[in-house]
Symmetry: C2
Subunit: 416 residues, 2 copies
Amino acid sequence: MTTALAALDEQAERLDADDVLAPLRDRFLLPDDVVYLDGNSLGPLPAAVPPALTDAVSRQWGTDLIRSWNTNGWWDAPLRVGDTIGRLLGAAPGQTVAGDSTSVQLYTALGAAAALRPHRTLLVTDPGHFPTDRYLAQAVADRHGLEVRRIPPADLPPFLAAEGERVVVISYSPVDFRTGELYDMRALTEAAHRAGALALWDLCHAAGALPLHLDALGVDLAVGCGYKFLNGGPGAPAYLYVARRHHEALRTPLPGWTGHADPFGLNRDYTPAPGIARARIGTPPILSLLALEAALTAFDGVDLAQVRAKSLSLTDFFLRCAAELLTPLGFAPVTPADPARRGSHVALRHPHAHGLTQALADRGVIVDMRAPDLLRFGVNALYTTHRNLVTAARHLHAVVRTAAYDPEPPPSGPVT
Amino acid sequence: MTTALAALDEQAERLDADDVLAPLRDRFLLPDDVVYLDGNSLGPLPAAVPPALTDAVSRQWGTDLIRSWNTNGWWDAPLRVGDTIGRLLGAAPGQTVAGDSTSVQLYTALGAAAALRPHRTLLVTDPGHFPTDRYLAQAVADRHGLEVRRIPPADLPPFLAAEGERVVVISYSPVDFRTGELYDMRALTEAAHRAGALALWDLCHAAGALPLHLDALGVDLAVGCGYKFLNGGPGAPAYLYVARRHHEALRTPLPGWTGHADPFGLNRDYTPAPGIARARIGTPPILSLLALEAALTAFDGVDLAQVRAKSLSLTDFFLRCAAELLTPLGFAPVTPADPARRGSHVALRHPHAHGLTQALADRGVIVDMRAPDLLRFGVNALYTTHRNLVTAARHLHAVVRTAAYDPEPPPSGPVT
């Protein structure tokens, strides 16, 4: 064990020394005494955010007041920030809008899909999809008289070949939020299109972590949050992408006033704005939106191919740490070893995941768990180091070896 | 004119000297060189907000990171802030939730109403309602196979007496956003209830400006924004009130994960949380929400009856200024002179409202206009002075007398 640990330490040191993205860590204000491996749940604070928010509050709101809607670009912020996010999604400008929560954007995307494919009857989603995706798929299906089919990603191509002509939309995530498995967006999108169905992707666990190619893949709709790999802050506004070819026919379920063609015209009836602007709903939470915009500058000049390469180096290295230090103690990695099938976190199964997560937190290692038995270790190439990972593995090893944790199951209620 | 102005100056001085709420102005960071009469569109910056946001960003997000969902109360913030707003609405705790935009909350409230009255066919709203209220009423009606009837508030009681048994819900604002007219919430709510219909109130232009009594009046549903008289910042989260008696039957159209009974249980199906928590949708924009929470401390210890009395003193005084200085120049007040029928802004009609608004802004007097010809002068008893109002009237008088404004109609696009 000591030999193994020394070897891992040495590897971490070498990998970090060779890391061309290492300077990006200075774009974040990370506490010195914390190893933060939960950026797949809440990204840490980018250094650009505090001064941007101070300006937004004291100058823009405090001094310029209502005029800021024009003079400080508040009105255009959802589209401007949307385009900035679009660059990380492989989306040309004018197809992405920022605002609301992922849940609201999902409802919008699913409702819009139903309206775009009015004579089809099935809404197909992942049985392992994040809860809000599943709940909203059911709600939209009920509203439109559709049937929800829950098909694992691996079974989706044959399902679509057999029953695809009845499918409105497939609603999936490229990265499983529990296991970290990465699915083949291209193959699944193409399978949907061969059946004449739409493809909707939830990018919460992908955007900012790996290159995406929404335009090139012909994706129809996408949503995602601003607070994981985009580091936009707690509950940062979400985003919606709609491919340009659908804009003219796009009808959203919530025709709010900011999506009107003439929002200040006080018209009697709703006329959708041209382009993606018609997907705007109500007045956006500007402070949270400007925090997200500042956070996104952490990606300025960053090559997402390098981000992906480093992310894989990190998760690969952590899987090696786990193999050496943790699987002998009863941990089972559930994240694929094949890099082509791996997102940007590693999940280890252990029956005492909750207590272990708490014990790690007491040692300054922040990870999270997903019920009932998965510990998740998220990496972000912008700030995670290989040393962070060997530190986490070492602490986890020590906690288990000394039984220094609570083996009880988690209480009900919110856990991180 | 000089005599009239001197008399108004003297009255303003006396009224301000007698103002028991005058010290509250120190709870706001208002620029010295501005007369701000647009708090009915965007409230100014409360002094409590900058330090609260600095703490939220640097300590809670930056240092405590993901743990803040528990340790700093992020998870409960929508319910906690909701209860704080509820105190201004006459709502006992546990019936108000903060989050999302007014448009999303309206969609939720209207959809919930349709589910609570499934065998009725009419959705009744104000033909002069704010656009988003009208658009979303139509959208919800279309979705549920209902018919929208647009009935002016004055005609609502006879309409309900005649056709009320078919009405799902009446959706109105107590204050007309253009004219500032205040309607009788009690009478209209009772008329709805006599017909077995639900009453939904949009409180955007009322909450924080006058005492409200949702529980006492038996109101069923209410929504409102956080950024007008609540001063929560640009696009501050909105809120939804649902009377407790409806909670058990409450079904919302967007069953997002945070409204689940066991949000971290990763369940397959949606089970609504008990109480108003089931109206939560997605992850809330915490920075904007905590700014709103800090802003609401400006109401600490404040008696809303005194707020209402001062608001009426302010609008009454401005109507007198207008009568002396402005109606002779072609301005027509459209706000009722009867205090029982007046909200917290005064609107004057003038064909060059747009150019005059701009000219006033150039002189440091911030008001707004609503197409095509209304200038709005919003007052907020927490910080507006009578002197502010005579200053505004004096500048407007001078601008018109010297024709120092652009008489062209407004360009299309956003205007404030």
